[in-house]
Amino acid sequence: MKNRKLLILLSALLLLVLAVVGITGAQDEPMKIAFVYVAPIGDLGWTFMHEQGRMAVVEEFGDAVETAFIENVAEGPDSERVIRNFADDGFDLIITTSFGYMDPTLTVAEEFPDTQFVHISGFLTADNMSNVFGRMYQPRYLSGLVAGSATESNIIGYVAAFPIPEVLRGINAFTLGVREVNPDAEVRVVWTNTWFDPPQEKEAAEALLAAGADVIAQHQDTPEPQKAAADAGGFSISYNSAMLDFVGQSVLTGPVWNWGAKYISIVQEVMDGTYNGSETYWGGLPEGVVDLAPFSELVSEDTIALVEERRAAIEAGEWDVFCGPITGANGNLVLEEGSCLSDGEMLGMSFFVEGVVGEAPEDASDEPIGFPMEEVLPRGDQIGMLGEAMD
């Protein structure tokens, strides 16, 4: 009883100390844009690149926009609070930049029909929630060509976050590139079960290096795997940003994100009232939302020429990465020559191609891969324009 009274007294005191009334000055003129980030903006990777996109928006529109962001927001149910907070505070456009924000974003979008939401990397949409992502598998494939040419031990390590379609697609595209130039090479995958955990990302890379890998690729948020490779005297293929700038020439190249142009066009269209609020956007190399980082001076002229040739074919729409013949890791032929995976199949990918050593959620079978689009998008939205042309 004694303790209870004291606690009540205490909490009242704490409230008193905290309860100094302050109201931020309201500015209603500029368009208010909020970004929800999964890691700190200083991660030099995934979130860093989204932050570059935000700054590009600020630079483009100046005083016409007011932006805010919140970093290090855990994925899952708790993020709903953060997203709703922004909506409550009258933001006009809210961009949530990690897969785990999808369900919360949808929930809040249904509550705030006048606010536009953009979710990155998911598959659900609503009238006021669009889904934006990039065909990262294209530059990943190109970087695989570089890695396959560089390896001498024929073991390439791949530090990967979660066994979800996005990551599997990247590993497969990368491996197809590797095996095209080096049929003897294998890609070994280690899962970290986290997007952002610098020490763990580094340890995973070190384990792969100790197992004989001499090139490290990754699907994480930070340059830590690149640092591990450089420390061990190996090469690496980076991800997200041009990590050569942070780690050095041992980073041969790597797929990168360019969010600025897409963010600027979304903001412009929302301002003009022309934005298709439920769009599903999956831009690739031709649109520029994904790209390949500048080459290290250690990459040979021949390799660069091959990469440029392949890039030109993709950009011209003559060819894409997931076109047959493709063999699964268990030896089954999953795609015949002359046919290509549809966007729906690519977005639901759950197997490994031949050359990957690691555990995928499912083995490749002779059954159709992934799910038909109608089944996978409950709200009836179709993904992509390129895919239909390829089918």
């Binding site: 303790n3 704490l14 905290l18 899952g76 609070r81």
Partner: protein, 363 residues
Amino acid sequence: MIHLKFEKRLEQSRYSFVGVLVLSIVLALLFGALLLAYAGANPFVAYAEMAKSAFYSDWKETLVKATPLIFTGLSVTVAFRMRFWNIGAEGQLVVGGLAAAGAALFLPEIVTLPESPWVWIPIMMTASILAGALWALIPALLKAFLGVNEIITTLMFNYIAIFYYQFLYTDAWKDPAGRGFPGSARIPSFTKLPRFTGRVHLGIVIAVIAAILIWVIMSKTRQGYEFRLIGENPTAARYAGVNLFRNIILVMILSGGMAGLAGFSEISGVSFKLQQGLAVGYGFTGIIVAWLARLNPFGVILVALLLAGLLVGGDELQMSMQLPAAVGEVLQGMILLFVLGADIFTRYRLRVVQPPVALTSGD
């Protein structure tokens, strides 16, 4: 020369307790103000924003966040009262959540029962209490029969539970219609806890009832008396004929069951499916809750609300003041450190001691 000496207080005065705690909060806020000023923010505006967010504009979210903290705080309170150091509330929460989700996802296919929350909520609660209790029972048995240190076992059992839970939502229980993305299917609507307003769900009421129950058990029953007796003085308890084995096992069943309920309320009240974000540290924060509440069940409710407010308000520092996430976290950590650290002054006091004259007279 003046010496300072720590002396154990013979009597813990209630005034020293209040005085020390108030002082520690004021100090924490003052040091926090320095930090905020260094980060380029006006501390008064920042604190006002935090308080406004936590207890005015986002009060519903504070209640949502407080719900699991009350359960885990109670879990730790029960065990710590007996000086049984259960660090495993996190793992017990996770298995409780697994049991609740499992019951909601798979039981309706096996047994035919009325599709009503009044039927299914008690089933899921029972499942999660049993799961949490069983998970806690293993370290309890190891302690009771082999004397294995429970701090180690309960801590390590967290990781087993968390990794098993990760396996389930990324593999065995993954939604077949989820296109390969991690996460189970959504639980049926009749297994969801009813909501009052916003995301505030019935779980907060269950948590308060649980707190009352725990208070009754600890303060009004013979069993609770035995728990407390063992905590105060195990030797005396043994002389008085208290069965240590039995109490260790009972206290862990009660403690694990409470943590299991936390998992249930998160699954059934907030996330509606098994996915990333169940094991976010509520079990560990429960230790802080219990400690700050001085192992008082009603104190747990209050402290859980305050800590939830601190977490909710901390986000506001980023959202409206554009301070880095780290500033909010450092501020939260600082307040906890000061309040917990000051605890020593309620049990000890600093005294100025004059050295004996005889030793210095020879110089």
